[in-house]
């Protein structure tokens, strides 16, 4: 287990967070069927850094993007997303 620095709450235990999907797996509403299916059903799944969407589910419930290494588990960056990030 490790800590995730929530942009709103500060460092919290990873168990408070849930993983959703990678950034490239977000389906663009304007995408054609093939592109949408590719986004829904395929992943680069790299053995290294990837951009992942996580949620502070058992905390402030905000969404964020983690740049996280999938072997070392080192989190290089946490970025707030959604209306909170724009405010």
């Amino acid at each position: 287990m490790y800590e995730i620095a929530c942009p709103h709450c500060g460092p919290r235990a990873q168990t408070e967070f849930t993983y959703e999907r990678t950034v490239d797996a977000v389906v663009d509403p304007a995408a054609d069927a093939h592109t949408a299916m590719q986004a829904l059903f395929t992943r680069a799944n790299p053995m290294g850094l990837d951009e992942e969407i996580w949620r502070h589910t058992y905390g402030c419930r905000a969404w964020m993007v983690l740049t996280r290494h999938r072997v070392t588990h080192v989190i290089e960056a946490v970025k707030a997303i959604g209306p909170e990030a724009l405010a």
Binding site: H34, M37, L40, R43, A44, N45, M47, R70, V71
Partner: protein, 419 residues
């Protein structure tokens, strides 16, 4: 041909200090080309090689393994073998495998210690029992054994389960598959390796695939740490790292890699007779032949290749196991370990051709590949020998995700982390 293992050869060996033992398989240098190259020397890859040689007569086959055979998920699972799935595509595939498990030690002349001791799913409420009855009916329609047990019958088989009404998770019944059980995981890899080697298959260890040799839209071989090896057909069989190897060919798969953990306690006298599982909770308990209680639970639910898991997940599995079988709380944990699983986007495996000619894929086994070892090998061998899917693996094509024909036993959709 090697001398078969037998009680007689063991006795004869006793008279000359057991000096007759030989390596169970050769350690050949890779040749420049093969009819079929199998990437991955786990149970599935070795079984594929064996059935290619045995059933299809194709013996010019190489199995390339980056470390040592059976050192990946074949050596990291909880050794459960069963075919009690609800969906026909799944239970027909696993049942075909279960039949092969029952004859495997004889077939391979290698004791895989298959122990059909029965595997039960517990039901904790009316909803569970309806689901279990429906699953049992679906299995019996396809000729697979399934029997509903009352709490009284369960108490006879597993007296240490907490069957009281005050239990944290009351037990209302169970669905048991008597022909299911456990096997010795390493022996499965070694047995297939020895039998495939005897038929002429080259098992090449410490040989990592680093790239593919490509001619237009056709794969004609692989680049490895031990040089270029050409192949007529190339099969990827590296579940846990399918995305990595397929990525070398430019393919993006419906797979995300996650960690799955298991643990074992100190060895004790027999206390768990069958395999006890709860899908409503998600823990599974069995006792190894050495006496250790082997337990497992959920995957870690986020992508990782680290082969080390989050302690809270193991803690959760233990808490569940202790709540249904309180006597387990007295045992000391010996060790935990984890493996990298290919979580596919419908929970079912992928066995079949890829969009690239000459390249085939066997992966996406999620947290349940060990039990499928013989069925996976059999159907993949058929696919690699003929270029077409066997009727058992035809539903498990890579295209199914794009056509909507997914095989989603748990019905959670394209979210491997919610499975």
């Amino acid at each position: 041909m090697k001398t078969p293992y037998s009680a007689f050869s063991l006795l004869r060996g006793a008279l000359n200090g057991q000096k007759h033992w030989q390596p169970a398989w050769r350690d050949p240098e890779p040749r420049s080309s093969y009819d079929v190259i199998i990437i991955g020397g786990g149970g599935h890859g070795l079984a594929t090689a064996y059935y290619l040689a045995k059933v299809h007569g194709i013996t010019n086959v190489a199995v390339l393994e980056k470390s040592w055979i059976g050192g990946g998920n074949t050596g990291r699972n909880t050794t459960l073998v069963r075919s009690n799935y609800r969906l026909p595509q799944l239970h027909n595939l696993f049942e075909f495998g279960l039949k092969l498990w029952h004859g495997m030690s004889d077939e391979l002349n290698y004791n895989v210690m298959f122990s059909p001791r029965g595997a039960m799913f517990l039901g904790h409420n009316d909803g569970d029992m309806i689901k279990l009855a429906e699953r049992g009916d679906a299995m019996r329609c396809d000729g697979i054994d399934a029997e509903l047990l009352s709490p009284k019958q369960i108490a006879k088989l597993e007296p240490l389960l907490d069957l009281s009404r005050g239990a944290r998770f009351p037990i209302d019944g169970a669905l048991i598959q008597w022909r299911a059980g456990t096997a010795r995981h390493d022996a499965v890899a070694w047995g297939y390796a020895r039998a495939a080697d005897a038929l002429g298959v080259d098992i090449i260890q410490k040989c990592e695939v680093t790239g593919f040799v490509r001619d237009g839209n056709r794969i004609t071989g692989v680049e490895t740490t031990r040089g270029r090896i050409l192949g007529g057909r190339t099969g990827i069989c590296v579940a846990g790292h399918s995305g990595q190897v397929a990525g070398l060919a430019g393919l993006k798969l419906p797979i995300e890699s996650q960690t799955l953990q298991a643990l074992v306690t100190e060895g004790v006298k027999p206390m768990v007779q069958s395999v006890v599982m709860s899908q409503s909770l998600h823990c599974y308990i069995s006792q190894s032949d050495k006496g250790g209680i082997v337990m497992g639970g959920d995957p870690d639910n986020w992508p990782s290749y680290a082969r080390r898991g989050q302690p809270t997940v193991v803690e959760g599995a233990i808490a569940q196991a202790v709540s249904i079988m309180p006597a387990l709380s007295r045992l000391r944990m010996l060790r935990t370990w984890s493996g990298v699983t290919d979580m596919s986007f419908d929970g079912a495996p992928i066995i079949g051709p890829t969009p690239i000619d000459g390249l085939y894929l066997n992966g996406g086994w999620c947290y349940g590949g060990f039990k499928a070892t013989p069925a996976s090998g059999w159907t993949y061998a058929h696919t690699l020998a003929t270029g077409k899917a066997h009727e058992l693996n035809a539903p498990f094509s890579l295209e199914r995700f794009m056509t909507g024909a997914t095989i989603d036993e748990t019905a959670v959709g394209p979210m491997p982390n919610h499975r």
